[in-house]
Assembly symmetry: C2
Homo-oligomer: 311 residues x 2
């Protein structure tokens, strides 16, 4: 059965991909042996992170990008980490129509991932899904995240190319960039380029880019709804990919991803152990009761638990 | 020296508080023994999470809330986890003036925390800062976070009372709530109540609240800039606090926090170990090179590392 799933995943069978992802997300017993099997088949997909605040139109942009990639014969994987993304079912009617074409395409695999209630954090599962889609023969994997915060910082560790989507008029956008997103962008997209305020937004970004550590970062204007400018974006992504390959930067990016992935796997495994009663001997809730009653404190309790599991 | 810091923190000395936070953030050697010392003095502060998208005016709301608490003689701690918060120095001039009063007040302690480059994630450090401010005698601790995502989900684990700030006209807000923030709110605030669209926004939230697992969640209208409605919010917070205390829910909330804190401490400690060469014997980057060359895979490598550190 294990061999069957793996060989079907390698063939790009969508049902097998979905099944393997579910096994991995559920921390099933087979998951890690399946993941071990597929690693040798990975490494050829280009991983593109797309980040931006809600309402910036990044889902529509991803849909249009996917359409273009498909025209060029590329196979596409989409991972939506935005809970309000149309890919996550939070779509308005217009978006749903737009997405239907992609959903019906066998060479497009779409997976939405929630951020709630994931014991080991989101990142671990995303690394796994990226590896699975890569092994399944997808040429391009688009990872969509929302807003500012840890997820946006983590995306650089997963993506080869990071696209930051800005919309004119949201004065916050530029402030956000200053605060942290600034340094992660390989490409800026100013979407909704038909809206007023476009010129000022582009100018603000140009000024920030000039002062940044990478003053050559391209700024692309798009109108995702009509598809305008999306081919320029595709071109910029492919230029960045070439740059990564010729400068040996791709290897660096991949090393960062593998290190982050390795650490995530270790953390999740250790977390499982801590919750495993037979190992920790005392139920976590009993320990928490002792912290609450001030009989012990979180740091002392942590040392006790560590003492039981570590060499 | 250790006794001196602890006793000064317990007296509420702002410089000692700041120094202890820095020691803890830097993972210094003394940090855990200092944290062990203060745990017994914690538990009396009321911890209030305030979350909402950028531009929702939550910093102004926090400033106004703090002003009211100070009028009532309460000591206040503010932890800003939003990188674009005026408390983090990302302020416009108007905000800065508003904040100055608070900054000059010795009984108000403000700390801004970044989300970038924190090895162990943000949450661990926030738990520590909450414990320190609690031990220092603050009656109220306000924790500010932005947007949707993991940080917003985590805030329920830290806060006794979670306030979700919405603004009219941002159509996204209600969609966001549906997607996840919905279930975390103990109180809704519709801020900028002088803006058009206020009635519709309130109605949308009322509809969602009615269908939720907690149909009695209060919805408060405020105009943070003028202070209007902020005393209603304070009243709603204090009602919620009373409810928690009489229903035994406060203990439940604290247990959730201590468990999350315990797990964070354990995870961070283990992470430090993994990066400690003398324990893992082989440098992480050598292992990553082997993953890159497909000589091994992340799951097998993780098992090898775990085998070396675990009993």
């Amino acid at each position: 059965m294990k061999e069957e799933i793996v060989s079907k995943v390698l063939e790009g069978d969508s049902r097998a991909i979905a099944r393997m992802i579910t096994l991995v997300e559920n921390h099933s017993k087979e998951a890690s042996s399946l993941m071990k099997e597929i690693h040798r088949y990975t490494g050829s997909a280009h991983i593109i992170g797309v980040t931006g605040v809600m309402g910036s139109g990044k889902s529509t942009l991803i849909a249009e990008l996917t359409r273009l990639y498909r025209k060029n014969g590329k196979k596409v994987g989409i991972i939506a980490i935005d809970p309000t993304s149309p890919f996550s079912g939070g779509a308005l009617l217009g978006d749903r129509v737009r997405m239907t074409e992609l959903i019906l395409d066998k060479e497009v695999f779409i997976r939405s991932m929630g951020t709630r209630g994931m014991l080991g954090g989101l990142a671990g599962a995303v690394y796994d899904v990226v590896e699975i889609l890569d092994a399944s023969g997808k040429d391009v994997i688009l990872v969509e995240t929302v807003g500012v915060g840890q997820a946006e910082v983590d995306i650089i560790k997963i993506a080869d190319t990071t696209v930051v989507v800005i919309v004119p008029g949201l004065g916050d956008s530029v402030q956000t960039m200053k605060a942290g997103v600034m340094e992660i962008a390989d490409i800026y997209v100013v979407n909704k380029a038909d809206h007023p305020g476009i010129d000022q937004t582009v100018m603000e970004i140009e000024n920030l880019v000039e002062l940044s550590s990478n003053p050559n970062t391209p700024i692309i204007k798009t109108i995702a709804k009509t598809g305008e400018g999306v081919s320029d974006l595709l071109e910029a992504i492919s230029q960045h990919q070439k740059y990564l390959e010729t400068e040996g930067e791709l290897e660096e990016k991949r090393k960062i991803r593998y290190e982050a992935e390795l650490i995530e796997i270790i953390r999740n495994h250790l977390l499982d152990m801590i919750y495993d009663e037979s190992i920790v001997k005392q139920r976590i809730d009993t320990i928490v009761d002792r912290i609450l009653s001030k009989e012990t404190d979180p740091y002392t309790a942590a040392e006790e638990i560590l003492g039981r599991i570590l060499k």
